[in-house]
Amino acid sequence: MALNLIRKLMVSSLFCVTAATASAETFVFTAIPDEDETKLVERFRGVADYLSEQLDVEVRYIPVKSYAAAVSAFRNNQVQLAWFGGLSGVQARRLVPGSEAIAQGVEDEAFETYFIANTNTAIKPADKLSDLEAPLKGKTFTFGSKGSTSGRLMPEFYVRDTFNSKPEDFFSRVGFSGNHTRTLRLVEAGTYDVGALNFQVWEKELGDGNIDTDAVQVIWKTPAYPDYQWTIRGDVNDRFGEGFKQRVTEALLNLDNPELLESFPRSGFIPANNDDYEPIRKTAEEIGILD
């Protein structure tokens, strides 16, 4: 009986190793999980359908749970294309020699982070962050994801730069909400006094009427910096045929379906290259996120 069971277990374990197969010629892409999952799945399924039509290959989007998981999947060649933030893109391209930033949103050339505060804190909006030193000191503060550019890197940089101290020393409590939508909800609900988020998420939620403006308001806007971009692996031509990278780039630049663009939200995509993101790399090195 025991042996019998053991034998069965052994056989089934062999199956387990061999059962997993996936077709090699599917073009797979992912995106950093910077917003609510339902929104991401909706948005990127649309992109997958569009790309599949344009490129004539099977295209699949896989959702991931963290920024690092997106970078790792790209690095491990389990995905060949990704919609990265500024920082995750820099990380990914460092890890995958030959990979390239091929397109960014029109808005990503000059992206911003908004600092938002719950109105109970009575913090008044200001033009300079240094004017907010007294009101912000000792408040609770949430970033977005640990790997986010607009939700972590840039706000942390400006906090350090302006107040000459680490966020965890300046604020009484520092958290990582996970994504921009959640930062918005947590500050709106008063779980945190202050938060920092991607300005596009704020503007879109505001436009859709999803923000209780009596509970939360923008108190400071960062200077502009480059952010999101599509990054592709250098070896896609070997796998999907000559000129494939060029075709993907063109497909993305030609994307003009208003509904799809609205879901990003971007007004369109424009060419980008690796050098555009040098400022992000330098900032990340400065605050010690990149070696």
Binding site: L5, S12, S13, C16, A20, D36, T38, I62, Q91, N118
Partner: protein, 488 residues
């Protein structure tokens, strides 16, 4: 009373927890936590079972990962149990089980990526370590008498199969079945890091405040666990085990070069990788220890000690709920349901829910750990009181509780509690992923920054801390002569 060593030990631990409270970050930071909690319970009362097309698939995958993981773990554990008397094997097993399933998953994700093997190994490896220990204990306790009756010249294997196994079979089967339930919980939470199990959808619904969707998932999960005796039948097991590998999902193909890269580059400490040699290693390690490992260890210990005592108090309060010596059948049945829910919900999910509702601090973690572990221990000692026969003129009410039952079950209560000490610490560390500053927080940060060398050192530190607590727990149990059976 103070002369009793069990009471003295309890008081020492209580004192440590109280001192810990002074240093702990305990707060409700949400401005309207009760409204959110209300919304959450409303969600459970109005479950939406049709929220996601993937829900049933997720449930199926949860079961499949649990079956394959536990099956592989039990085979490997059984083989290891046969050589468990060798010190290196014991150390190896202690090490692999000191690392939480989620940490294993995070490690495998880096080179296997979203392949089913990631989830299967994340369960199978730590479970193998646990199975090895428990199986070897069971085998050791086997009656040696039948072996002596064998004719001389009987082969070792025959002797083992015909004298030891029959005596141990029932115990091993019971334990393995019990472990399967733990496997379902482990499998469900793997979704939180991106595997296609229940946690994946649960996290998505919760973070968006879709409480009715989340409620439906929790209900399905409870039903799945509560009905296990109905669908996990010995005769059906081979079918499940043979079938399960086909329901793990496709995932993405493994690129084997990544495995090599992970071990030869990624986890090599940065100074060595960059050719700075051993001279660069010391400052690197110092920085890691002072800025991340130390605060992580401190918070992990503080939270563990508070959660341990909270678990103890809750268990003592909870066991009358199901004890035959109190209340009528209606209250007992309600008590059973409450304790089943408390112990079927993984700490990680409870902590996640409470963090969403109350805001970040150690409080949600303490409550989650106490509810889950208190539910388990309360259930076990409550059941134990049912075998106690009281005199017809025994005291009733509070006196019966305080002077009859608690003293009688106190030793086994402490035994369970100290057994779970290490488990509570392992969970405490992992809860850092949710944003509480325990070791898991720093491991997660290192992984988010793609610094696997740092992550591996921190995971190693976590494992050593767990082994330390496990050893201390065993020492105390031996010192107080407490005996227990394994729980998970």
């Amino acid at each position: 009373m103070l002369s009793s060593p069990t009471v003295r030990t309890s008081l020492v631990f209580l004192a440590i927890a109280l001192v810990g409270l002074l240093f702990a970050d305990i707060a409700i930071t949400a401005s309207n936590p009760w409204r959110d909690l209300g919304n959450f319970f409303l969600g459970i009362l109005t479950p939406n079972f049709f929220s996601s097309e993937g829900l049933l698939t997720a449930l199926l995958r949860t079961v499949a990962f649990a079956f394959v993981g536990v099956a592989l773990g039990s085979i490997a554990g059984f083989l290891l149990a046969l050589v468990y008397r060798f010190l290196p094997v014991r150390m190896f097993c202690a090490f692999v089980r000191a690392i939480h399933e989620l940490f294993w998953a995070l490690i495998f994700l880096q080179f296997f990526g979203f392949h089913p093997l990631t989830g299967v190994l994340a369960i199978a490896i730590p479970y193998a370590g646990i199975f090895a220990k428990v199986y070897s204990e069971i085998l050791e306790e086997a009656d040696p008498e039948p072996g002596r009756a064998l004719p001389p010249g009987t082969g070792n294997i025959s002797a083992f199969l015909y004298t030891r196994i029959p005596d141990c079979w029932v115990k091993m089967r019971t334990y393995t079945a019990y472990r399967l339930e733990c496997g379902l919980r482990s499998s469900a939470i793997l979704g939180f890091v991106g595997l296609p199990t229940l946690g994946f959808y649960l996290e998505a619904s919760f973070s968006q405040g879709l409480y009715s969707d989340a409620g439906a998932m929790l209900i399905l999960f409870y039903v799945l666990i509560a009905t296990m005796p109905l669908w996990v039948r010995p005769k059906l097991l081979p079918v499940y085990i043979l079938g399960a590998p086909f329901f793990l999902g496709e995932g993405l193909p493994i690129v084997w070069g990544n495995v090599q890269r992970f071990f030869t580059e990624d986890i090599v400490p940065a100074p060595l990788r960059n050719g700075e040699g051993l001279a660069g290693l010391t400052p690197w390690l110092n920085d890691l220890m002072i800025n991340e490992a130390m605060p992580g260890i401190w918070n992990t210990i503080v939270l563990t000690q508070i959660a341990l005592v909270a678990t103890g108090i809750l268990s003592l309060l909870a066991f009358p709920l199901i004890s035959n010596h109190f209340g009528g059948p209606i209250r007992r049945n309600a008590g059973h349901v409450a304790l089943v829910i408390a112990r079927s919900t993984p700490e990680y999910i409870l902590a996640y829910i409470l963090l969403q509702l109350w805001g970040p601090s150690m409080l949600p973690a303490v409550v989650a750990l106490a509810l889950h572990n208190g539910g388990i221990i309360g259930h076990l000692i409550g059941r134990q009181t049912n075998s106690i026969k009281l005199r017809p003129d025994a005291a009733s009410g509070l006196n019966r509780y305080g002077w009859e039952l608690v003293p009688r079950v106190y030793r086994s209560f402490l035994a369970f509690l100290f057994y779970r000490w290490e488990i509570i610490m392992r969970e405490t560390a992992i809860l850092g992923i949710l944003g509480i500053y325990t070791l898991g927080f720093y491991v997660d940060s290192a992984i988010q920054n793609i610094r696997f060398d740092r992550a591996m050192v921190l995971i190693l530190v976590t494992a050593l801390l767990n082994i330390g607590v496990d050893t201390l727990g065993r020492y105390i149990r031996r010192k107080l002569a407490l005996q227990t059976m394994p729980t998970c």
